[in-house]
Structure formats: C-alpha cells, structure tokens
Symmetry: none
Subunit: 207 residues, 4 copies
DNA sequence: GATGAATGAGTCTTCATTCAT
DNA sequence: CATGAATGAAGACTCATTCAT
C-alpha cells in the first residue's frame, strides 16, 4: 500500500520519525486540526523536510492510517476455533483492552477518522473489514449452533467488544476525569468487569 | 449558562438557527475543521451576522456544548430507585440507544470533543458529571448490597452502557459499512442485544 | 463567460481595477511568473482582497483572457465585402497596427499565452477563432475568383497581417532597441511600409 | 562567451545535455515558469548535479541564450551583395522559415524572452544586433539607390521577414489550431506565400 | 563527479474577525 | 439588524540553492 522504492537508512529513520510524530498529532487533533508545523516540531524536522519524505499532509495521514489499520485488526484475525469459544472471545476483548491501554493514540486516530465520517478509510471498512467481521460472525454462529455459547447476535457482540474496550482509549480523559485513577490502575478493574460481562453474556443457560 | 440580556423574538430565533447549523457542522467536522462559512451557509445567514449574535466561533461552540450537555445527561439523572433496579438500568441503556438513533449529531459532537482531549468541557466532566456518576454508582452499590443486582463495578457498568449505545451514533459509518442495514432497522437488533447483555450481567446468581 | 450576479458599484470598480492591474502584470510576466503580490500592489489592494473578488489567480487570468479575446477579434469580424477589397484588407492591417500601438499589453498577453502553448485558450483557437478565420478566408477566395485581388493564400495572408502588425507590440523592446525611435514615431513608417507591402501583394497583375 | 576552464569529455557532454534539456523546458515555460526539477528530469541528471555544471538556474538560461543568439543571427550575416538582391532577400526569408520549422524551440526561447521585455539580452539587442541590422539596412539602401529593389523601408522590411517567418514557430499552436495541417505540410504553402509576398514587394516598378 | 538530505524564502490560499454603512 | 468589504495571521506547498558525503 506504500513505499516501493528502496530506502536508505536515513530515509527509513526519518519516515518513521515523521509517522510517529504524525500519530501523536493526528490522534489528538483531527486531520484538519493538525498542522504540518506541529508535526515538524514533534518530529524535530523542518516543515519542507517533511514534504521531502511525503508528498503532502494528506499522504502522511493516509500512510499512517493504512499502515496501522492492518496491525489494528490482527487481534480479530487471531480469533479462531482453536480454543474454548468463550475463552477465545473474552481473550479477544482483553487483548483489545490492552491495546487501548498501550496504544491509545492509534485508537483515537481511528476514532477521529470514523466519527467524522471515515472520509479516507470508508473503502477499507466496507471491504476488508466487513469481510473479516462477517467471517468471525459466521464462526460464532457455528459455536451457537453447537451450543458452545449463548444465542446472541454476533455482529452486535463484536460491536460491543469494540465499543467497551476502545472506550478506555478514545474517551480516556472522561474516564480519568470521573475515576481519577492512579496511572493505569483502572485497567485491571475494567478487565475484571469486561471478563464478567462477557462471560455471563456468553455462557449458555439451561431454560 | 449564558445570554443574560433580554432577547427579541427574532434574536431568539436566529440564535437557535445558528446553534442548529453549528451542531450540524461541528458534529461532522471537528472544531478546527468547521468554518464559519459552513455554519453561515447552513444557517442561511451572513458570516458577520453570525458574529453579531455570538462573539466568536469559539463562543458558538462552547454555547452549543454547554446547552446540550445539560439535556444530554437527563437520562442518567432520571435513573433512580423508584423501579426495579434491573429494569431501571436496562431502561437507561435503551433510552441512550434511542438518543444515538434520534440525536446522533449531539453524540458525535461530544465524541469529537472528548476524543480530542475535551479541551473545552474538561471542567464539566471533572465537576458535575463526575458528581452525578458517583451518585448513581452509589445507588447501584446499594442495589448490590441489597442483592437486587449482581456484584459488578458500577462505574465500569456505566462506561459500558455509554460505550455500547453511543457506538451506534459515533461509529455510525462503520456500523453501516459492516451491516449495510435498511434504514435504522439494526437499532432493534441492537436493543435486543443490549437488553440481553445487560440483563445477564445484572441478574444475581446463586453461588 | 463570467460574473452573472448583480454587482455593486464597489465590486464593479474593484474588479476592473484588478483586471487592469492583472493585465499590466500578466502581459510582461507569464502566468507562472506573475505573482498575486505584484497584482495586488499594482491594484492598490491587499492580496486576500484580490481573492475576495476572484476565486484564484487562475480565475483572474482566464477572466482577463476571455474578456479581451472577444474585443481582440473585432477588427477581423469587421472585415467584410462592403468596400474595395484591397482597401478593406489594408484597413484591417492598419487597424491591427493601431492596436499594437495603443494596446500593446493585450497583444503581449496573448503572445505569452500562445508561445507557451495556449494551455488556457486552445479551445477558443480551435473553435471560434478557426471558424472566423475560415469565413474570412472564404470571403477572400471570392475576391480572388472575381479578380479583385491577386491570387494569394488567404490563410497565410491573415497570418502575415497578424505577424507583421503584432510584432510592433510583442517584440516592442527589440524594435525600439534597433530603431531607437522618438516615442511612437516609427509606427507611421510601419504603417507606410505595411500599406505598400500589402498593396503590392494584393494588386492583381496582368500576366 | 563562457567556460574558460579546460573540460573533460564527460563535462562537455553533460553541459550539452543540460543545455539541450534547458532549451526544451525554457522554450515552453518562461524563465520563471521553468523549474530545475523539470530540467534535471529532461536531462536525466540530479538537480544538484545541474548546479555542479552551472552555478545557477539563471546561468543555465543566459548561457543558453548567448550560445544560441550567435548562430541564430547567422542567416542575416550571410545576407550580402554577392547575388541577385531580390533572390538574396527572399533566400534569407526562406532560410528563416526553415529555421522556424526545424528549430522552433530556439525561436520560442527568444520570443518568450523578448515579449517579457528582454531583461537578459537587451544589451545584445541594442549592441551587436542593432549594428548588424543597420549594416544590412545600409546594404539594402544601396540596392534601392541602384534601382535593384523597390523603394521600401529596409528596417521594417527586416522586421516583416522576422515576424512572418518566426510566426510559424512562435505561434505554432495557433497556426495548427486554424489550419489543422498534416505534419509540416503547411510550411510549403507558407514558403510559396512568402516568396510571392516579398517578390512583389521588392520588384521595382516603373511609374 | 555525483547525489541524498535539508532549508529559507517565497507563493497561493483560507479563515476568523473587523470595519463601515 | 444586516451585510458587503477588507485584512492579518496562518497554513500547505514549491523551489532554487546549499551541505555533507
């Protein structure tokens, strides 16, 4: 999806520096709100030098999005039929929660993009992401049919996992404003809560 | 919270027109991304006329935020001890879900603001909102003590309700990109899903 | 081809001021070479104010071209069968020469544009201009058939009139560098020369 | 006119490559419009390498102009008293016409420069060129005195030859837009036309 | 000789805000 | 009340030129 040409060491390093700085800036300001000056400052490079490595502000942003999107979906891809279904799903939720703790900027980058209508990754959503989600929903439907998990709408289950976990990254300031936690301490409580929430939701009941 | 002077009918109407237009624009573009031109166009007024009613772009935005925040929290305020605890909580979730369906712009306005660090409503969050949430958490802790709902962290429960319901407004394009729903049809499924999710989570179990 | 909206007096005046300044600048610097700063300075307006009246530098330039092109071709349109053919053609040449003397900037504006490949008026050339020229060439062919002017290629005759007359505007500095004329004195010599040149070329001979 | 240092073969070749590329670019974009990137691309060299061979963009341009100006005037220098005066002059015109066909970029390079006020070759025009033209005008005046050509203003005759012949290079797109010729076919018609035009203009008449 | 890297000085354009009427 | 006119400040992007290797 990018950068075919061979790169020198300096190029590689500077491109990474720029993308790191861009992540910092774009995740807290939206695309329109971010300025090249901010990114240049964060990267410790001059503004024209930024544009020596990337053709435009837009190019930096889309490169960032497409680079991250791929790894962003890895946890969902890893969800498969190899283990206990309930453990698998809860494990997925906990992995997502860890990502909200460890990579909140990435989460907010996508949140910003999607809240504003996903003008630059709608294709990715309607294509690859949709396909992936449908696949995993099918897998869950199998589990339901086999009686291994409760009967529950798989798509909305996935949405609820995304929503509840990413909330701790995207609405970070709100969570902190209310809980006033000590560092990341509240993430353990969140993990316990989500584990309980989804275990109860997924455990089949005799009726 | 504002506008102390007496207002003529025209003034009142125009202020409302402007705020409605501002909601439209600010909710899909962030504060920095929105322009007075867009708002003026949406309001059908001239740009200087906007600034006759509000001192600045910032003033329009903050007025909008504070006006809406109040009504935005009404459903939570309405949560009280008068009914069956589980029904109360699920009712709250469903009311929030309705708001995501009927007032998605308001939801996205706050989402944008908070994702970007809530630079203009942090005070509201750390003050009134925090107090309100703590109150309701106390209420829930009572219910838990009385054995009326399962033992579950009240704060994270509230977060999970916010997250799962607002998701349908804030991440609207993603939900639609994946489900390709017919109009708002998927909201019924979401309601059923969330009802089940929270009922199971809240129903006390014998151990 | 432009400006449909009603204009206030100030708008009209300022648009004209800008176009006049733009003519001054674009005729001596090419499109790329001209800057909005130069035009703004020449117009006595601020740079953003220029862009209040015209959406872009390009818009100023194309408005100028299309406004002028029309009147620029008037002399050729006026060439008709009403008078003595030879007098008509020589009259046309002399009128063009006058225009080179009185409106050299307009001539150079088109010269610049065409020398650089006419990127913005090629359509006008291949459409309306071509049609007009073909019409007048037909008229001349009639005159030839009637024995009223010598047998000569009408298209190349028109080219030679354009070339010899516009030369005094477009290559003005060269002409002046060589002749070192007193003011516009050399235009009379040019008129006499061209009159003789074309009279001899057009007068039918007995063979 | 430049380059005093001894040059290696590579240097010579590269300088020529650069000048050839510069001719290509400068003749269709004006000085300001052309970029070193375009020239570097056309030359197949890196931008800094260009500036290894020439001190600046300006230096490339002026070198090009002065190198070409010399050979550009050769046809006029060749005009002398050795043959039949009318044939000499017509021959000169036809040679100029050939140059417009075979070296249109050189013609447009000078056209661009002169239309824009000849900021870089005014000295050449007012010095050597003026002297040369005056010389040839004297020669023609001799011919007129001897009754060998018609009484006609020599300077304006020279201008008209330049104008009519260079027109086919400088206004190439216009000529082609109107005639829609097959390749260079129209140059033969132009040659015939100009031969007739100048023969009639120059042939002495009995009155 | 050659080139990747870097930048200061522009250049067009946008936009919130002010002014005058 | 309302708006046409105007602008300072900022922002994205360009480009000739320099530097270091």
């Amino acid at each position: 999806m990018n950068a075919e040409q061979p790169q020198t060491r300096i190029q590689k390093k500077n491109r990474e520096t720029i993308l790191e700085a861009a992540l910092e800036v774009f995740s807290s300001e939206s695309f329109r709100g971010a300025t090249l000056d901010q990114i240049a400052l964060a990267a410790g490079l001059s503004k024209p030098n930024l544009l020596y490595y990337f053709p435009s502000k837009e190019a930096i942003y889309t490169e960032l999005l497409s680079t991250l999107l791929d790894t962003w979906l890895d946890p969902l891809r890893a969800l498969d039929g190899s283990g206990d279904p309930i453990d698998e799903i809860i494990g997925y939720a906990l992995r997502k929660l860890e990502m909200s703790r460890d990579f909140p900027r990435e989460s907010r980058l996508f949140a910003n993009e999607i809240v504003q209508g996903a003008p630059r990754i709608l294709d990715q959503i309607e294509g690859p992401l949709r396909t992936l989600v449908d696949q995993k929903a099918d897998l869950m439907r199998h589990w339901i049919a086999e009686g291994k998990i409760a009967e529950i709408d798989p798509h909305h289950l996935i949405f609820s996992i995304w929503a509840t976990t990413q909330h701790y990254a995207d609405f970070n300031v709100q969570v902190r404003g209310i809980l006033r936690p000590d560092g990341d301490a509240h993430f353990d409580d969140a993990a316990a809560f989500l584990t309980a929430l989804f275990r109860r939701a997924l455990t089949p009941r005799p009726d």
